[in-house]
């Protein structure tokens, strides 16, 4: 897009901000026990205040209530969504994005407030406004805009019963994303099992990883003064010599320090995920995963023994086990 085209496009989309997407949508069904039961069957929700009339009547709820997570369900459009969805302002706005190459759409956030419990007989009406369109953002998926809609839910008395903010990203899929799409859509039905993030292999450390691939944990040794060092690097910190060779580690050592990684969880890694600084018998330290033990069993000074092993289709690593 040229700057002029971008300006025209942004003027067009910004004209939608603040507008209701259409007339308020009155739910086709009032809150009712059948739809409540259908929902709780699928979510596995066995709370007796949703389905057990006798229990609910005696509880603080004073009778059956709908799960709050059904708030939006009462006013959904239904089967028309997969045939001829009604053209409202929101869909019109999305079409403008599509026409300018922002064809991707991704729900990124919802935030829902519940003001009161809904009961059978309540009538829910949804009022949706296009509340906000962000500046142009560069995201991992591609360049795009976040569109935020706010829906106010009211009851048969016109009182507010809840509110939902819904944020989507409308984006121009970047080349990488498009390529990934093509390969996943065409290829197997199931995604390949995830693997760990690959360690980069460069001029100074590729030899170390190649030894790992052969099942050996190596420690670099200065040819000038004999000092051992890890991780691999070109020059000795003691005597500045750039001449070196390497010895094979005994894989014996102890935990110098450790931590457990909780969040965010990465696919391809086993949890609980314990990472330790291991003090090897030879004197150098390295960072590796602890395996074969629970987090609460680990302590500083714990004797460990390493094993160079294949952890997934792409990676061989030294793991350390309680000795």
């Amino acid at each position: 897009m040229t700057p002029e085209e971008t300006r025209d496009f942004e003027a067009k989309i910004r004209a939608y901000v603040g507008r209701e997407v259409g007339a308020p949508t009155r739910g086709k069904d009032d809150v009712n026990p059948a739809m409540i039961r259908h929902w709780t069957e699928v979510t596995g929700d066995e709370s007796p205040v949703y389905c057990d009339q006798a229990f609910a009547a005696k509880s603080s709820k004073g009778g059956i209530i709908a799960p709050p997570t059904m708030l939006q369900i009462w006013s959904m459009e239904g089967y028309a969504m997969c045939q001829r969805p009604e053209m409202d302002l929101q869909r019109e706005l999305h079409k403008i994005f599509d026409a300018h190459g922002f064809v991707g759409v991704l729900g990124t956030n919802t935030s829902t407030d519940f003001y009161r419990d809904l009961r059978p007989g309540d009538q829910v009406t949804a009022h949706t406004v296009i509340d906000n369109i962000s500046e142009r953002k560069t995201t991992a998926r591609g360049v795009g805009y976040f569109i935020e809609t706010v829906t106010k839910f009211t009851d048969q008395h016109g009182a507010d019963v809840g509110r939902q903010v819904f944020r989507v990203l409308k984006f121009m899929p970047n080349a990488e994303t498009a390529e990934a799409k093509a390969s996943t859509a065409g290829a197997a039905d199931k995604p390949a099992p995830p693997t760990r993030i690959q360690a980069p292999r460069g001029h100074d450390n590729a030899w170390w990883w190649e030894a790992i691939d052969q099942g050996k944990l190596m420690i670099q040794r200065c040819k000038g003064c004999g000092t051992l060092r890890h991780p691999p690097r070109p020059m000795c910190g003691d005597c500045n010599s750039t001449e070196w060779d390497a010895i094979e580690s005994s894989l014996e050592g102890e935990v110098y320090s450790f931590t457990e990684l909780h969040y965010p969880k990465f696919p391809g890694y086993p949890y609980p995920l314990l990472c330790a600084v291991v003090q090897l018998r030879e004197g150098t330290r390295l960072i590796a995963n602890l395996a074969g033990c629970e987090p609460e069993q680990v302590f500083i000074g714990m004797k460990v023994r390493g094993k160079v092993e294949r952890v997934d289709d792409k990676t061989v690593l030294p793991n350390f086990y309680p000795a």
Partner: protein, 142 residues
């Protein structure tokens, strides 16, 4: 089934909720979409999902909300009241995945009698499916 409600005073910040493992199946995805009256094709029609770049149908947002709501009220008990559910969406949930929800209490509001539960729902293939905060009101007295 939990018929006992947690009391506000008995909950401590840092308390962990028991993890919940959910097998993601086509049945759960389609059943959740239809029970939430969400007939968007990508939630029941594999060809439509593939046209959108994913290998299979994927869970709709209402079902993710429903599952996290259920997870918290299972722990809190029938007299609790859900006040807010915030969901930050991550990787989609596809058939064959397993999602594990974990959570802990991360804030309390004495005046309102509400506790905030910080949760994460992680699937075993693509990682975090959803994370955020659920705010729930608990009765103060037994």
């Amino acid at each position: 089934m939990n018929k006992t409600t947690r009391r506000y005073g008995s909950v401590a910040i840092g308390e962990k909720l028991p993890p919940l493992r959910i097998d993601i199946t086509s049945g759960l995805i389609i059943g959740g979409a239809i029970a939430s009256r969400d007939f968007t094709p990508v939630h029941h029609d594999k060809a439509a999902a593939q046209a959108g770049g994913l290998p299979d149908i994927f869970m709709n947002i209402l079902t993710s909300n429903g599952l996290i709501g259920r997870y918290v009220t299972d722990w809190a008990g029938p007299d609790c009241t859900l006040k807010r559910i915030d969901v930050k969406l991550g990787a989609p949930n596809l058939p064959g995945f397993v999602m594990t929800i974990t959570a802990e209490v991360n804030a309390k509001d004495d005046a309102a009698g509400t506790v905030d539960i910080a949760y994460s729902g992680d699937n075993n293939v693509w990682g975090t499916h959803m994370s955020g905060i659920v705010r729930v009101a608990l009765p103060k007295e037994a």
